[in-house]
Amino acid sequence: MSVSQQSKTTNQTKSVVGRPLDRVDGRLKVTGGARFAAEWPLENMAHAVLLSSTIANGRIKSFDTSAAEKAPGVLHVMTHENAPRLKPVFTNPAEGDAAGRRVPLQSPVVYYAGQYIAMVVAETLEQAKHAAELIRVTYDEQPPAADLDKERGKAYVPKQKVAGKPADSLRGDVDAGLRAADARVDETYRTPTEHHNPMEPHATIAAWDGDKITVYDATQYTYGVRHSVAMSFGIPEENVHVVCKFTGGAFGCKGTVWAHVPLAAAAARQVRRPVKLVTMRQQMFANMGHRAETEQHVTLGAKRDGHLTAIIHEGISHTSVYDEYVEPFSKPTHMLYACDNFKASQRLVALNVGTPTFMRAPGETSGMFALESALDELAYKLNLDPIQLRLINHADTDPDEKLPWSTKLLKESYRVGAETFGWSRRKPQPASMREGHYLVGMGMATAVYPVNHFPSSARVTIRQDGSAVAESSTHDLGTGTYTILTQIACETLGLPIERVEVIIGDTNLPKAMVSGGSSTAMSVGTSVQGAARAALAKLVDAAHADQRSPLYGASADQIVARDGRLALKSDTTKSETFTDILTRAGMKEVEGSYDTQFNDREKKFSSHAFGAHFAEVRVDRDFGEVRITRFAGVFDIGRALNMKTAESQMRGGIIMGLGMALMEETVLDANLGIIVNRDLAEYHVPVHADVPMIDIVLLENFDEPLMNELQAVVNAYAEVRARGGRAALATVVSVVGSAYRRPGARMLVTEDGQTVGAISGGCLERDAVEHARQVITSDTACVVEYDTRGDEDIVWGLGLGCNGVVRVLLESLHEGSGGARALQFVADCLRVRKSGVIATVIDAGRAINQERGAADQESGADRSTKIGARLPFDERDDEHASSAPGGLFVDALSPFDESGARIREDARVALTSGRAMTRVYEAGAGRTEIFFDVICRPRPLVVFGAEHDAAPLIRLAQTLGWHVTVVDTRARRATRERFASADSVVLCRAEDVTARFTVTRDTVAVVMTHSYLDDVELLRALLPSPACYVGILGPKQRTEKLLAQARAEGSWFTDAELARLHSPVGIDIGAETPEEIALSVVAEIKAACDGRGAGFLRDRNAPIHDERAATTAPPEFEIGAHAAARERATSVACGSSS
């Protein structure tokens, strides 16, 4: 009993990150226990109410505040005539935007309707409100600029950048692009002004104590409030203490410090009492920013086949007359689709409104609407499916930053989305789908959002009672920050949820930046993890140094933390509790801190989240009423820390998008400049009845990090070639001793010194880039040797673990050159996921070391051996048929008899072994060195079921170098932590398996879900798939039942399909334990895939090696050190086929 309980807790603490844990603050929220900014009960608190201007443009002529001052309970009436001088707040964007340039109540000028012009402080809210209404104001009124259409003539070039780019950006030649186009789309799109409208109004409580102030504020940025208040009042930042325990929604409008914050502080200082200031909903429409109105024009040019030849995205948005904010609608267009010719241009129109600000996905929201709509128009014109058009123009690398993507599962998103949603049922002809009074439409769009992160700090304290606390000044906007930080701390510390407390929202805690731009989970989460590790390290130190501890002498890497204990990894019975360690050491607690820094200057990847939206829309054909009836969103957002809160974010974003598309619109009276629909009765956000079922799929871990670099190099070269640029390829061809990267590591260097990929841990790149630029200039190839042993380690090694001799082949790339052919071959291999070998000449001792390039080769003028000459072989153990013949390569070896055959044989060896190797061929005085590089496709094993018996199977398969995917069909999410070593862990319902996976001919599937129904579904999906092996755990009778059930549900299996079914799974070795079963299963897979019987070898009447290995000719003419390499390779080949 106790044992099973123990193991249950273990599982909980180990896999807590990612679990769909309920919000840890959920109970507080629903019971009213969560204290929002306006709810702090301070003694002797007074209340402030702001009076808003009723004109949009002009000056205040006079105030009559006499009635207000005499009204009951009034403590103070403040106008620009008697307000304290507040200093302007200059803001550094990295510090988050603050109050804007206009300081409140400092002048009689009115810039927009609703602007604060006076403030009343009174004993109660009602008294303050009443008195504010008694203030009489006379104005000098000017006609306002309130209509974008009327003011468009005054559009101007923004002074600031547009999301970091110039307001006018150009890539390639859009005019030429449009001339080359077969089809063209020219459309204008308008998006209205929108308001964030978080549930919780902006609210501030300010309480001074001498020169120090405490501010309780509804904010996304406690440190930003601190900074602004300090600046306004000219006091040191340390004097300002900001508290915000919960934020009731924000969407961007609480990332900025608006005028009410310094005003509350000014009021409190004036009346020498704490003052509470809660803004009214109506005031929030005028004073807290909004998403600016836009008018966008999108021009697309495309070839008949759909390839974009030009994209132009231009237009206007509004800003205020006193400050500048650009709604960066062209931002996603810079990078979303592959197109050489791109132009963006944005202009601003100043209106008498409050300054706009960032609102949930600023730029993407308005810009993607225009771009994606235009793409749909194009698809219609070209008679292409909208998904197909997007696939055709898929950007394989970031066309703007010219960087590879960190991960991009956009194609996958389209595919999974289309399947989840039932895209195939769509009929493209307009009005062709009808239901009753409704016209039914289906549409889709791409989703994109950049990965943002900010430096942030956290502190984690482990207390003697075995509990822990994690602290950071960050915020929970309702997004789930408390919950995910709890999960991260628990997992790192090995503590159950209830023993970890998260404290946030207070500037007395370690600094965190604005909770905006989807940055918090990544930034603060990393800090909390780092701090937890640091705290744990101190605990380990204490145990390590204590002779009485069972962990005495153990080093950090030998110890794990779980269930509130530290234990030896190798023998978990040797453990003790945190409490025991701390008590004996006489320590009350240990504390760890961590500052997360992100180095964006040496950016190697372009990082974005991608996804695809699918919607079914019904339009009443008489009334035009639009209702969304189905929705599916598929997203590649990286790792979800909590499946529930992550999905909630997606769902919430989609609902907000529905609101934007169909109903949200802030309307300004064009004559008076006053917003007419400034409350939630008339500003329509979606209600439940507007929201359909929304299917969310988060694509996790579909990425294959190793492949990614190779793919990135391939893609980057395609890019260089497309734009007519030049580049060199650096390839590690041999390593003696230790080095960070192995032979085969590649790096692409462009003429301007940009790199993609890596050949070392950072120590060789700089020099290699120099050499690369030389070979580009001279259009040559050479091999450079780096010796990082001995003294020179100081120069090269930099302590990065390089201590050896590394040879790097550097070659200029151009059409038809060896390097280009190699990359093409790699691209082919990657595309079809096949294995291959490339033979490369890296030394030709007979001739001079550096040779002229391919031009001569092609002319036939110089038939001597060429460094960098290539001969690719694919899986069929053949010269790569599709690429240029190996002629030149063979010519290069012409002095060697039968060299072609020998090389082919060696290539086969390399392919079989899966290892890169170097070989020297000699004849007479001639000597040629060839590097065999293997592009390996690992055997893909998919294990269905995530019970613990899967673990040994996965471990064993990985030892063999297989690519292992674990599919969890049952839990709310994949139990990633338990299968940390797996290449991929995926949550997927059994019935969705075929939709989520590409099953290929070499896919090996093992079904062990322990669930009858899931197994039925999986059999139905897998048996007809091309998988070469389907094994299923459990006795034969059970499998028979499963098959019967599958047939009853309409499945029909051929004999060939049934022949692939292995049940019971495994070979007969008397396996009992999960480890033994794993051995038996892996052996069976190996045998089945290699067509072997799995019997005893002594009973075998044939050579041990199969035909391929057996025909490998014994080495005849290698020399020197390379013989060893060959031997190793051969023995591996033997091992792997026995």
Binding site: E126, H437, D622, V676
Partner: protein, 332 residues
Amino acid sequence: MNPFTYKRATDQSGAIREVAGNANAKFLAGGTNLIDLMKMNVQQPAELVDINRLALKRIEKTPTGLRIGALASNSEVATNALVRENFPVLSEALLAGASPQLRNMATVGGNLLQRTRCYYFMDTAFPCNKRVPGSGCPAIPGFNRIHAILGASDKCIAVHPSDMAVALAALDAVVNVEGAAGARQIPIIDFHRLPGDTPHVDTNLRADELIVSVDLPSSAFARRSRYLKIRDRAQYAFALVSVAAALDVQQGRIGAARLALGGVAHKPWRALEAEKILTGAQANAQTFKAAAEAVVKDAVPQKHNAFKIELARRAVVRLLSDVAGVMTGGAA
């Protein structure tokens, strides 16, 4: 928000006396409209007389139909079995309005007397003839998408926002009121006013008069009545255009017809001309289209609401077809 006194009335005549004695007093029912307007400083009563304790909640059968107490909540009326069976249009209209929480608070009397949702009326930053007589109407040159197409004046183009009142208009309801000068009955069609030169006067109810109940006469057409509301979101939005229709159809011929529209005028708009066309005519698409034409014959669009005219036409055709059980090809 002005200071005011609050009194809780315990009997009907006491309540009426209290309000009659103070020109600035108002009855308080559910408060879902009055309190909002007070907070926004649109209305400034000096005294509130809370009538919620009065015995005016009953929904009861009468010899001629149904009597609904003025304090019956919108939810109670909407879900009442007698209402649903005999006056389905009333239940549908109520359920199409506001939200469940609001309907739980809102009363029949308060619903009849709710003020317009015209933006310019609801915000004291604007001038408004309805709020401050003679100050002007910024809606006419301004943003008037939600405004009237029928019966408006150059002083006011606001619409009455109630859904319930539209259904009552189609049901020939009678409002029973009692004031210092005694009780009287006001047919629903005469209860609300058109704006004319006095848009600040919404109804013909006197300041000291209390709505006591509403009478609904039973009829064959009332049993066959429906409500259709077109709005910017699926729920919780005022009508752009709404239609209440009641028909008595015998062998394809319309015996009696009632038709009223919401969202188009300063009062629930009873379409008497259209009813004349319908009565005695064949229940078919042609008849319904003719009726729809009659409804909008005198319609005058504003800058932003011309769409309402076509929308009203189509809504009338759609609903009449639905009530009559006739298929039409749609108005488009």
